[in-house]
Amino acid sequence: MTYIAKPRLHHPKLPTNALGFTRRDYEGAVSTLCAGCGHDSISAAIIQACYELSLPPHRIGKLSGIGCSSKTPTYFLGKSHGFNSVHGRMPSVLTGANLANRDLVYLGVSGDGDSASIGLGQFAHCLRRAVNMVYIVENNGVYGLTKGQFSATADKGSKARRGAVNTDAPIDLVALALQLGASFVARSFSGDKVQLVPLIKAAIEHKGAAFIDVISPCVAFNNNPESTKSFDYVRAHNETVNRLDVILGRDEITADYAPGTLETVVQHDGSILRLRKLAADYDPCDRISALTYLQQRHAAGEIVTGLLFVEPEAGDMHDLLDTVDAPLNGLGERDLCPGSAALARYNAAHR
């Protein structure tokens, strides 16, 4: 159960990060998801990414909606505030949280039911608004908690464990995110930690709306060979466009990649994204060609993964709104209340 705390004991020689935290300090409660669930691998990747970035755990806000994926914030970052909100509405709650305090890191964790069905509207609009966040969809194509109904990302023709065939056209959240103006768009696979951890790190470092669609097979309801969200299917059809390394401003920059296969992207905060290009003709800074490439490969039955698009100098919602640099939740009467003299002027103007 979620209230079972993990034992705090750990090996005295566990490595620590720049803040002196061990990886264990980023963990949460024991997962109650099914054994082998892809979502637990994503939680582990989030823990690893935050550990490697040396983020103070309490400076992270983790927010979610409803569903298996939305339960996972309990299982990572136990020292962070979490908010398990209502179904499909995490984006608005996260938007409000971000407005109140622009200084925290916000992780929005959602699923394909939560984001592509009931919450499609909120998904779209928070990306439009350039909310500074990492929006992760743990995408398994089914409703797990209600025992295996198709979600809106299930491919047409996809077969459920009990044989039902999905007849509705699928929603591709990555294509939508590209179209809606997200400034960091990636897709990965829960079974590919080597790819996923750097993507999460890069998304956290990115200023603006970062979206990662993580295909995460549902071992209970959607891991049959016919499912396009199964381990076997994804492994067989994965088209990886690049491999990412994230180099923070404080890290030593080393160049150990073969020239001609590297693409370097410097983000707003100075972090450097090194992309080992696997698809030679792929340009991750061109939104239009990213969308085209995605659709071409989809037509060929392939699932494109990697960093698909990044706008390294993107701003965020606070830049667009032109809010003060200080978090709004820290302002007091002196900053907020115009006082009785201003009110007297208001009165005088209305006689």
Partner: protein, 620 residues
């Protein structure tokens, strides 16, 4: 074109006490001329209030503007019309029918109308406004716009309005666009001079300068409530456009741009999100408040319906939120541009499951300002949604109210927030732990302390330490504490205001919100008839103990509301465990603001029934 005087009934004679109603077509530019009329009355020192009755469209449908002029200060709707300015042929028949016997009908006489279109007990004043405009102006738009100013000029002569007052108002209105002042003044005098030459001026309705306005101000409730949010420290507003609440959010934006920018950098100390729908709007508010900002949304009935799930979350997870409900004609799309008090139950009990919410009932824009700031304090103190129950009448109409006040020594009540220092000192933190016995737990803002005070907010049930729990005792413990917190709220919300009748009486009346000014006038009229009522104006839910004491002290209590189903009465009965027979519903719900005459008639009729019927028996 002289005044017809072959009346079967004497023409109404009244100085500084009458009702003028303008019947216009919306989009014709009449609104600003009509507002000039109301303001000129005020500038003459005569109290007035105005009510805009408008359709849900942009151009071409009927719209009315009713001005109540009352030197004795009655600013509710009286009922009936003494002077009808009938500028809309579409609504001619109903407009003419509404005039009091002996009243006055002013119309554009350019096109002759058959005698059957008039009443023989009404004084008819015709002015060929279209002909005058066509003679004076060539441009079609000018002909339309200046027609409004021309009839204002005619009225100034008919009613003896001080023309220099109107001139001053025009100069103020067009300050910065000075080229517009001269043509408007020209049109004003065109009408005025024509009337003085052609009509018998003044008529029986006249304005005399008085000194009864004092330093009162003329404002809408939406503007005032938005300003209250600025003063109360709201930094985040999220909204979705919906009549009649949109102007609250827009006013917040305007006030903030003026009052809330960093003086050096000009950056904003506020954030406003026009959301994609009301669900998102309340979600943003809840997210911001969870993270320690003061946040609000403004909406109307349909928006409240959409927000239900989130409201339940905020109640159960105990997150502050301020929700302005500018009520309109319901249910469904209902009458979007008409007024009602019909969301009482849907707000008091919003969301599924056992929920109860705090409601505030401002009576006018001034209380709208005060309660807006109070609501932000209450939301933080009680960690729950607070509804400010306004309506279209308060929100969108200009009301004459005492000046707004702010005490500069006032400090925001941020409620029970556990700080890093407290956590470092080893103070025990349980997010849902009642340490003070008032049902209100402590909370922490995210990011407060590196290792202490983090908790998981959820809509699922939990124990006192915010740990997920479906154990019956944990659930019941939490639900009982929420009830206890609601009891605490009784002591914190604005108290009801009681008024004793001049003579002892076994009858009382309860009312709230925008009914107040009409009620005050009605009470005076009832007293003149020898009917005495003690009254109580309810200003909040949960009901203060005073309310139950008041009901207990009277045989019968009239509950005056602007809805069909007596919603406040229902709440009184269920919350106070009251005998329904003691509470007599007086209900006005046609979408127009309640009038003093309606209340007088309804209570008088009911008194006949009540005094005939044996006590303790349900009334029809």
């Amino acid at each position: 074109m002289a005044l017809q005087s072959n009346l079967a009934i004497a023409a109404i004679q009244s100085v500084n006490d009458f009702v003028v109603k303008f019947a216009n077509v919306n989009g014709s530019g009449s609104a600003s001329a009509n507002a000039l009329f109301a303001k000129s009355v005020l500038r003459m020192g005569v109290p007035a209030s105005s009510r805009n009755i408008f359709p849900s469209n942009i151009q071409g449908l009927p719209t009315w503007y009713e001005v109540r002029i009352s030197e004795s200060g009655h600013l509710g709707r009286r009922g009936g019309v003494d002077l009808m300015v009938a500028m809309n042929p579409e609504t001619w028949d109903e407009d003419v029918a509404e005039i009091e016997a002996g009243g006055y009908l002013f119309y554009d006489s350019t096109k002759p109308l058959p005698p059957s279109k008039f009443r023989d007990d009404v004084n008819v004043i015709g002015a060929p406004l279209t002909a005058i405009c066509n003679r004076e102006y060539t441009d079609a738009r000018q002909r339309q716009l200046f027609k409004n100013i021309i009839y204002l000029g005619v009225l100034s002569a008919l009613l003896e309005i001080d023309v220099t007052v109107i001139e001053t108002l025009i100069s103020e209105q067009f300050r910065g666009r000075d080229t517009l002042i001269k043509p408007n003044l020209h049109a004003l005098h065109l009408g005025r001079e024509w009337a003085r030459e052609e009509l018998q001026c003044p008529i029986g309705l006249r304005l005399n300068p008085a000194d009864k306005v004092g330093d009162r101000i003329f404002i809408t409730g939406n503007d005032a409530a938005a300003l209250g949010c600025v003063y109360g420290g709201a930094t985040v507003a999220a909204w979705y456009p919906i009549t009649p609440s949109s102007s609250l959010a827009e006013a917040f934006s305007a006030h903030c741009h003026r009052l809330r920018r960093d003086p050096d950098t000009k950056k904003k100390r506020f954030a406003i999100i026009q959301a994609e729908d009301e669900l998102s709007a309340i979600g943003v508010v809840i997210g911001a408040a969870w993270n320690g900002a003061r946040a609000f949304t403004a909406t109307s009935g349909p928006g409240i319906s959409l927000m239900q799930e989130f409201i339940g979350l905020a109640y159960f997870a105990e997150i502050p939120a301020v929700i302005f409900d500018i009520q309109r004609g319901s249910p469904s799309t209902g009458m979007p541009t008409r007024t009602q008090q019909a969301d009482i139950l849907s707000c008091a009990l919003a969301s599924h499951g056992d929920t109860k919410h705090v409601l505030l009932f401002p009576q006018d824009p001034r209380e709208g300002f005060a309660f807006a700031a109070d609501a932000l304090d209450l939301a933080d103190r009680l960690q729950t949604p607070i509804f400010v129950m306004m309506d279209l009448d308060i929100g969108m109409n200009d009301w004459l109210v005492e000046p707004l006040e702010w005490d500069d020594s006032r400090r925001y009540d941020r409620g029970k927030v556990m700080t890093a220092e407290l956590l470092d000192n080893g103070v025990e933190f349980g997010r849902y732990l009642d340490v003070d016995g008032d049902g209100i737990p402590y909370r922490t803002y995210p990011g407060t302390h590196p290792v202490r005070g983090a908790f998981f907010t959820r809509g699922t049930s939990k124990d006192r330490y915010a740990r997920y729990s479906e154990e019956g005792p944990d659930y019941v413990d939490n639900m009982q504490r929420l009830l206890h917190k609601f009891e605490t709220a009784k002591r914190l919300v604005p108290r009801p205001i009681a008024r004793a009748a001049p003579e002892p009486t076994r009858f009382g009346a309860i009312y709230f919100g925008s009914t107040a000014p009409a009620m005050t006038e009605a009470l005076e009229a009832l007293e003149e008839r020898g009917i005495h009522l003690d009254t109580m104006r309810i200003r909040a839910f949960p009901f203060h103990d005073d309310v139950l004491d008041f009901v207990a002290a009277h045989d019968r209590v009239f509950v005056v509301e602007q809805n069909r189903d007596a919603q406040l009465r229902t709440l009184l009965i269920s919350e106070g465990d009251l005998d329904p027979a003691r509470l007599v519903p007086i209900l006005h719900y046609d979408g127009t603001p309640v009038t003093a005459r309606f209340i007088v008639r309804a209570i008088t009729d009911m008194l006949d029934v009540v005094t005939l019927a044996p006590l303790r028996k349900a009334l029809p």
